[in-house]
């Protein structure tokens, strides 16, 4: 268990105490807490993709930004053509990204490591969705433009993904352990983490569950990896300098988000806040996951 997992456990106990005392945490408070944590840790973890990608790369800044924004535009276009397929693509892309961030630091040297990353993420997302199916289905159904997303809860697709991915990921971990590609310690920690995520996703509401994972087990972990990588590349890097590096794109993202909220309040824009959130997160996630794949290749190659 590392410090992040310890913090995660402490926070789970704290939230459990609040639930015992108050019986519930209102949606408003859940969203408030979640937004604060996502703004402080979630957005910044993807705010230095440019620096990470361009370090030790032959690609020029212009080409990088061009490709970065082009991929975002393309994805926006895909959303315009088919929201449902774009949403499904977003889920699988996020699944791969989460799996990669979870397991890539073990530097697993097998041909199907990328498949394991994907399955780990599918297990994570399907577990979150299955345990909170009713809550999510109601949320999607509360807006016209997101109601067709609740199709993922039909035809037992989610059940199939939940059982198969969790089974395959445990089997994969066993395979890696038996073939000595990961240590017993890593195996136990990963297994424990999977069980812990199941418990958290089962007992807490979806917003709290996802925020806990996304902030403490994903974003902060990635921020620490980024800091430790840049420490070797930028002489005299300290926390203040690192925050300054994170600031521009974090603030820019927040600026655009606030602008949208203002515009949508002034003009009657034909898109729900939920769909807007999903689209904006997904279009940022696409180039971010590509940049992170390149980043993990770099740190593992070292």
């Amino acid at each position: 268990m590392n410090k992040l997992l310890f913090i995660y456990i402490v926070i789970c106990y704290l939230i459990a105490s609040v639930f015992t005392l108050e019986n519930t945490i209102t949606i408003q408070n859940q969203l408030l807490g979640s937004s604060i944590l996502v703004i402080i840790f979630g957005i910044p973890h993807g705010a230095i993709d440019n620096i990470l990608f361009l370090t030790e790369s032959n690609l020029s800044k212009k080409v990088f930004y061009l490709l970065y924004f082009l991929s975002m535009l393309l994805y926006c276009f895909l959303w315009f053509i088919s929201p449902l397929y774009s949403f499904i693509f977003f889920l699988f892309m996020s699944a791969y990204h989460f799996g990669e961030s979870q397991l890539s630091n073990y530097n697993i040297e097998i041909n199907f490591s990328k498949f394991i990353f994907l399955i780990w993420g599918v297990a994570l997302i399907s577990t979150l969705f299955l345990y909170n199916a009713e809550e999510l289905s109601n949320l999607f159904n509360s807006y016209d433009d997101t109601s067709n997303f609740s199709i993922i809860f039909k035809y037992n697709v989610l059940d199939f993904l939940f059982y198969s991915s969790n089974f395959v990921i445990v089997l994969s971990l066993l395979y890696l352990k038996i073939n000595k590609l990961i240590t017993n310690e890593i195996f136990s920690t990963e297994l424990f983490q999977i069980i812990l995520l199941h418990i958290t996703f089962f007992i807490f509401p979806v917003i709290i569950s996802f925020t806990l994972y996304f902030v403490f087990l994903h974003s902060i972990k990635v921020l620490l990896q980024e800091y430790s990588y840049l420490e070797q590349k930028i002489s005299g890097l300290n926390l203040m300098k690192f925050i300054k590096l994170l600031a521009p794109f974090t603030l820019l993202s927040l600026f655009f988000f606030i602008i949208f909220i203002l515009i949508s309040n002034i003009y009657n824009i034909d898109i729900s806040l939920l769909l807007f959130l999903i689209i904006s997160i997904s279009v940022i996630t696409l180039p971010h996951s590509i940049s992170m794949t390149s980043f993990y290749d770099k740190i593992n190659f070292k």
Binding site: M1, N2, K3, F6, I9, V10, Y13, A16, S17, F19, T20, L21, E185, S188, F192, I203
Partner: protein
């Protein structure tokens, strides 16, 4: 000396058994609580004898660790023997005796961490910190569970004392996984001790987690709808037996392995 002590202990138990045979209630086949008390008593008594006898097989510096392991399971065995009778006679959960057992055995489990890392430089301060944290955890837990005023104040009482108790648990968890104990184990230059301390830390993380979960399953607790409060004794009994015997077995493995290494040198 060991043999004399062991024979004396067995004679005491036989005498107690003869005294109690006449008043002992039979365990109904569906009484899992009483059955697991019985099973826990037998398992921990056997483990106690094993650790005590095996003290002779290890190097001098590991004898204390095995004695502590034998004491942990021995104390628990005596309590389980009593708790089974109590449960059979009253049908109630023996909360008081359970806490008496824990307040004696859990600090001893913390002593094991000190004994294991002593060679790497663990200080008495660490020992007292762990003992204090474990006692704090149990006293707060007991107040939360046994002195619940009921009514409107019931939840706030149990949550307040539950949080205070959890602080003690988290302190121990931090110390053995990330803090002083983990660092000392790393410093010990012995793979066996590193692995052993890590295994004991897993017991604290996973095995001990049943206690705060059990606490939350009390009547009116947040998890009482997930787990039936009446069945929590069964889980406590199983967890207690696994934790205490498992803890001792890890210590025994380290002691044997390190003693064999010493012999080979």
């Amino acid at each position: 000396m060991q043999l004399i002590f062991f024979l004396y202990f067995c004679a005491l138990l036989i005498k107690k058994k003869n005294m109690l045979l006449s008043i002992m209630e039979p365990i109904a086949p569906d009484n899992y609580v009483a059955f697991t008390f019985f099973l826990g008593y037998i398992a921990m008594f056997a483990a106690s004898i094993f650790f005590f006898v095996e003290r002779g097989s290890v190097d001098k510096k590991w004898k204390m660790s095995l004695l502590v392991s034998a004491l942990i399971t021995g104390i628990a065995a005596v309590h389980y023997y009593y708790m089974r009778d109590y449960n059979l006679a009253t049908g109630d959960s023996p909360t008081f005796f359970r806490y008496v057992d824990w307040i004696l055995t859990v600090p001893l489990m913390c002593v094991e961490f000190y004994l294991l890392t002593k060679l790497a430089g663990a200080t008495k301060k660490l020992l007292w910190k762990l003992i204090f944290a474990s006692t704090w955890m149990l006293v707060c837990g007991y107040i939360g569970e046994a002195f619940n005023p009921g009514g409107d104040a019931a939840t706030s009482h149990s949550v307040t004392w539950g949080i205070l108790s959890t602080v003690g648990y988290l302190y121990i968890l931090y110390t053995v996984w990330i803090g002083e104990v983990a660092l000392l184990a790393e410093k010990s230059n012995s793979e066996t001790i590193k692995k052993g301390v890590r295994s004991l830390a897993w017991f604290v993380l996973v095995g001990w987690a049943i206690y705060p979960i059990g606490y939350m399953c009390m009547d009116g607790g947040w998890l009482s709808s997930i787990m039936d409060p009446a069945s929590i004794d069964v889980w406590y009994n199983i967890a207690d037996a696994i934790n205490k015997i498992g803890f001792g077995l890890v210590v025994y493995t380290i002691a044997i392995s390190e003693s064999n290494k010493q012999l080979a040198n």
